[in-house]
Structures are given as C-alpha cells and as structure tokens.
C-alpha cells in the first residue's frame, strides 16, 4: 500500500516537474539552447507566487494570471538581450550565458528575499483527501490538474495552431523555415518566453510544496536536466514520460529505502541510461538536420 501511495505521489509530483522539463526541452528543441537558468527561473516563479500570496493575499493559482505573462516577458527579454547577439559557437556560448544569467538572478533573489527558507502556505497545502487508505494532499491534486491543463494548452498550441505549426517547422528544419519566410528570432523569443512561463507555473507548485530559497535552484536544475537527458534533449513526450518515471522511482525508493536515497536514485538511473544510450531515452542522435 505504501508503494502504491508512493507511485501515485510520484505521478502527481511528476506532473509539475513535467511542466518545468517541458519548458527546458522545448527551448532546446527550437534553438539548441540548454537553458541552465531554468532552475533559478523556477525559483523566481516560486518567489513571485509567494510574494503575491503573502503581501497581496492572491491565491497562487489565481496569481498565475499575473506571473505567467510576467515570466513570459522575462523570457523574451532574455532572448533578445542575451541569446540573439551570440554569433559563434552558439550551443556552448548560450549554455554558459544562461548559466551566468541564472547566477545574476540568484544573487538578486538572495538580496531581496535573503537566504531564509520560505514556503507559500495556502490553506490547502496541509489538507488532503483520503480514499481508502490512500492520501492525496490537495495541493498535489490541484497542481496535477493545473499541469494537465497547461500541458494540454501547450499541445494545443503546438499541434493545433498556426504558430505551433511554424514553431515545429522551425524546430525540424530551420533553414527551410527561413526559406518560407519564417522569422526564427521571433519564434525563438516566443519559445523562450513559453519555456520560462512553464518554469514559473512549476515554481508556483514547488514553492507551495517545499520550503525554498534561491539556492534551491541547483537541486532543481540538476533534476530537470536529468529528466531532459533521460527523455532525450528536445523531445517533449520524452520529457513528460521521464518526469513521471523519475519521480515515481524516487518516491518508491524513498519509502522502500530512505528519502535521501530516493534522490540519489534519480541520478543513478540517469547514469545507467547513459551507459546504455548516450543520446537518452527518446533522443535521436541528430536532433535536427544540418
């Protein structure tokens, strides 16, 4: 029963990890950028929700109406000011640049919020629903529902709209996309905006289910990267599956063995996968045609 509970917890938590990982892998798929700042952007999202809740008493879920557009803007600005000017060696340079951008944001957050751990403790954070002997914390249920809604919206955007069609075209064959007149920079800026918004949505849940500070970003980014490598860089479905699988494994190991080992298993699974398939679970050796 404990294991069943752990599996369900893993799936519920995996849901909002999928949000953050989807943002990371989408950005990579479109512009080959490993957004190393994704972890701190999640924390930034968490702080925004926290600040709105603690100062203005805006429910974090409702607050997404403010934080998501704001974070979208952050992503767009980062693209135009930081990524677009990079001319050569883009893959490595953009990775290092995002690493540096993340550090600046971390420093700023640390100045504003200090390094005291905080948590967005809404009324439903500590309440839960019980079915038989299974316990479902309300926040997990709500956040899972939100993840499903947002990921569905993302799929709708990608697969049912013209913008999504253009974005996927740019992802599959950037040169051909330019040849039909698609503005790759605009698509890229937009994609980074979406990726950062998804980070913020994940951050809202993260900040409600964990006490955090700016330094939490390191743990987050390494988990997210593990998920994305596991799922294959640039693969959206890979990221979703990997989020759920990784979190389920973590939670199961946590109850069977110990919570700390659960976390370690996370990385050990990653290493095992890479020993067998260096390109990740769903990764193609060449992500895009050159």
């Amino acid at each position: 029963m404990l294991i069943l509970q752990a599996i369900i917890d893993g799936i519920l938590i995996g849901g909002f990890y999928a949000l953050m990982a989807a943002g990371l892998t989408l950005v990579f798929g479109v512009m080959e950028i490993v957004n190393f700042a994704q972890g701190i952007l999640v924390v930034l999202g968490a702080y925004l929700s926290y600040a709105l809740y603690s100062h203005l008493h805006i429910d974090p879920f409702l607050g997404l109406l403010i934080t998501l557009p704001a974070m979208f803007l952050v992503g767009v600005v980062i693209y135009w000011t930081m990524i677009k000017p990079i001319r050569r060696d883009r893959v490595i340079m953009s990775l290092l640049t995002m690493f540096a951008v993340g550090t600046v944001i971390e420093g700023i957050l640390d100045l504003i919020f200090t390094s005291n751990l905080v948590q967005t403790t809404t009324s439903y954070v500590n309440s839960s629903v019980q079915i038989g002997s299974l316990i479902f914390p309300e926040i997990y249920l709500y956040s899972f529902a939100m993840a499903v809604v947002l990921l569905s919206a993302l799929y709708w955007l990608l697969y049912r709209t013209k913008f999504g069609r253009n974005l996927r075209a740019a992802m599959q064959n950037p040169t051909a996309a330019r040849m039909v007149g698609i503005d790759i920079d605009r698509i890229s800026a937009f994609t980074l905006g979406i990726g950062v918004s998804l980070a913020a949505a994940g951050g809202m849940v993260f900040g409600s289910t964990n006490s955090f500070d700016a330094a939490s970003s390191y743990d987050l980014i390494s988990r997210l990267l593990a998920i994305v490598i596991f799922g294959g860089f640039g693969s959206l479905s890979g990221a979703l599956v990997a989020s759920i699988v990784m979190l389920v494994i973590e939670d199961v190991v946590a109850v069977v063995w110990s919570p700390t080992w659960g976390q370690t298993t996370f990385y050990l699974v990653l290493i095992l996968v890479l020993l067998v398939r260096p390109q990740g679970l769903f990764g193609r050796t060449a992500v895009r045609a050159q």
């Binding site: 060696d89 490595i92 340079m93 690493f99 700023i108 990267l225 700390t260 990385y267 260096p278």
Partner: protein, 365 residues
C-alpha cells in the same frame, strides 16, 4: 619550379609579429609575481588580509587545474567541485579516522587528496567523455550533485549534513593563516609548473589539437580518449589538492560547501575572465577576482552579492572578450604591431599580406 617562386604562398607576408611578449619579459614577470606573492603576507600580516590570501591560493590552484582539462581540451566542465569535495572529504576522513592531530602533518595529506581525486576521476571521466558538447557540460554538474547527495546520504561515513570537524592546528593568532598561505602558494607553483610543462609537451599539443578538431586529431594518430582522460585526472588532482587545503583551513567539511555549485561557477568565471586555455589566464583571473569577491563578502556581509558581480562579469566577458582578458589584450597589442609593420611595408611593397584580417570567423567549434 621551386617553392620560393610561387607567388601567392606567403609571398608578401610581413616579418612575423609574435603573439606573445618576448621570453625575457614573460620570465621576468613570472619571477616578479612570485616575489610579490612570497612577500605579500610578510608586508601585510593582518589576518583579515592574509585569509583573503589563503582563499586566493585555494582558487588559484583549482583554476590552474581546471584549465589543464577544460582550457586545453576545450571540454567545459562545470562540475569540478566534485573533486574539490573529494579532496576535502579525503583529508577530513583520514584525519578523523587515523586520529591525526592538527598541525603541519595535515599538509602531508594534500598529495593524498590529489591522488584520491584523480583516481575517482578516472571512472567518472570514462563515463563523461562518452558524450560531447552540451550533454557533457550538463553531466559534469549532474555528477557533482550525485556526489553531494552521497555525502549527505552516507551518514555513517560522512556524518551527513552534520558535517565533519577538523582538529585545530597547533598554531594560532596572527600566524594562523601563514602556513596555509605558503603551502597553498607552493601547491599553486607546482600546479603552474605542471600546466606549463603540459603546454610545452607533445602530449599537451595533442590536447590543443583535440580542442580545435577532435576527429582530425584522432586521424593524426592521437589517442584522444586516453589524452582527455589523463587531462581530466590531472585537473582533478589539483582541484582535489585545493579541497584538501580548504578543509583544515576552515576546520569543517559540509556536503553543500564541499560539493558546492558556486565553486564551479567561480572557477569557470576566473579562467574565462583571465583567458581560457592560456597559462597566465587562470592566474590573472584568480589573483584579481578572488580578492574582490572576499572584499565584497567582508564589506557587505552578504555572501551572495558577488554572485551578481560574477554573473554580470561572466556575461560581459562572453560577449565582449570570448577568449578572456589575456588573449584579448595580447591580440589587441599584436594588431597594433601588425598595423605598424604593414604601414612600414606600404612604402616598399603595396601588396596584400596574404593573411585574412578577420581571424575570428575561422574558429571551428
């Protein structure tokens, strides 16, 4: 037809303008710097200042070591804190389990810390070096976090988040920092000598070839996997020593400070700012930035204010001087000399030099 007759090949090249200052200048500067570093704590014995000196030495060793792998081979690692941590834990665990007293004897453990780090780096490197580019960078930091988690989890061994406490040294007071400083300086000199030697060696030339075009290097008979692994282990060795010096200096070892992601950032920034892949780059970076960071810390009491400064600096360097200060300054200086040589030549021979003006475009990723 003999070689000298063909017109287009190097025909109108100006007499060579060197890329580096003359040997006498370089050796003189090195000796002068060494004298300054030896004299520094004697002139300014204030413990606050000398403790900045010790931190500078620790980062100097690490930066030189990191550069041997990442700078020379072009594989950027942002997870070398793994070996910083292993070095710290090696010294702390041996001290505690062997019930060693605090004191000079602990410095004897520095080579051990280096060797253990290097040994640990071999299987890790073997795994990491299977992948390239972004996946490599990402995995280096993942490995670092795995080790941090292990340090937290293997409580019986590491005491987990409780950390380990080192015995106090036998010396105190204003003299406290001195031994750490000089041992650190000695280690930094050894690291610098090793980096210099590798740069001069056939083996090192192979590393640079790998940086420029790995497949091509393989095709010229270079054992690329072995070369990269050796460089990785060598850099782990020195970073391990840096960790081994840090542990007795601060007197305690905690997982989050041993396997510290900000250490990774700091080392990468130091070397990038100074000049990646150069001998003097890491030295310049560490000697300028670490005192600045420590100053920030002491002045504003906020450990993370320097994060902002570092981040901004890193962005600026990546944008404006992607090679770092040393190559940036030397190439600007050389451009002036070339321009002058050309101006002199204009009078006698108005042809093109046969060299492209824009060297930047050619670099292969």
């Amino acid at each position: 037809m003999t070689a000298t007759e063909i017109a287009p090949v190097g025909a109108a090249s100006p007499q060579h303008v060197p890329y580096r200052p003359p040997r006498a200048v370089r050796y003189g500067a090195t000796a002068g710097l060494l004298v300054l570093l030896i004299a520094f704590p004697l002139v300014l014995p204030n413990p606050t200042v000398t403790s900045i000196g010790v931190f500078t030495m620790i980062y100097l060793i690490a930066a030189i070591g990191w550069n041997i792998f990442s700078g020379y081979s072009g594989y950027i690692s942002i997870g070398h804190a793994a070996y910083y941590g292993i070095g710290q834990y090696t010294v702390a665990l041996i001290t505690i389990h062997a019930h060693l007293p605090g004191g000079w004897g602990l410095f004897g453990l520095l080579p051990v810390a280096g060797v253990v780090s290097a040994l640990a780096s071999i299987p890790i490197g073997f795994l990491l070096l299977r992948v390239r580019r972004h996946t490599f960078i990402v995995l280096t930091i993942a490995i670092m976090f795995i080790l941090q988690l292990l340090a937290f989890n293997l409580t019986r061994f590491t005491n987990g988040s409780g950390g380990l406490t080192m015995p106090f040294p036998t010396w105190t007071g204003n003299f406290f920092n001195m031994p750490f400083y000089y041992v650190g300086l000695l280690a930094a000199v050894v690291a610098g000598a090793a980096a210099w030697w590798i740069r001069r060696s056939k083996y090192g030339l192979g590393l640079f070839a790998i940086r420029d075009d790995e497949e091509r290097a393989r095709g010229l008979g270079i054992k690329v996997t072995r070369s990269k692994l050796i460089a990785y282990a060598a850099s782990a060795f020195f970073v391990g020593i840096a960790g081994g010096l840090y542990a007795p200096f601060v007197g305690s070892v905690y997982p989050q400070f041993a396997f510290d992601p900000t250490f990774d950032l700091a080392v990468a920034v130091l070397v990038f700012v100074g000049g990646i892949g150069t001998l003097s780059g890491p030295v310049l970076g560490a000697l300028v930035l670490i005192p600045l960071q420590q100053y920030f810390y002491l002045q504003f009491g906020n450990a993370n204010l320097y994060l902002i400064a570092y981040g901004v600096l890193f962005i600026l360097i990546l944008r404006l001087l992607p090679g770092g200060i040393v190559p940036g300054v030397t190439s600007a200086w050389r451009a002036r000399l070339v321009a002058r040589a050309r101006a002199r030549q204009e009078d006698t021979r108005p042809e093109d030099t046969g060299l492209k003006d824009d060297a930047g475009q050619k670099g292969r990723a």
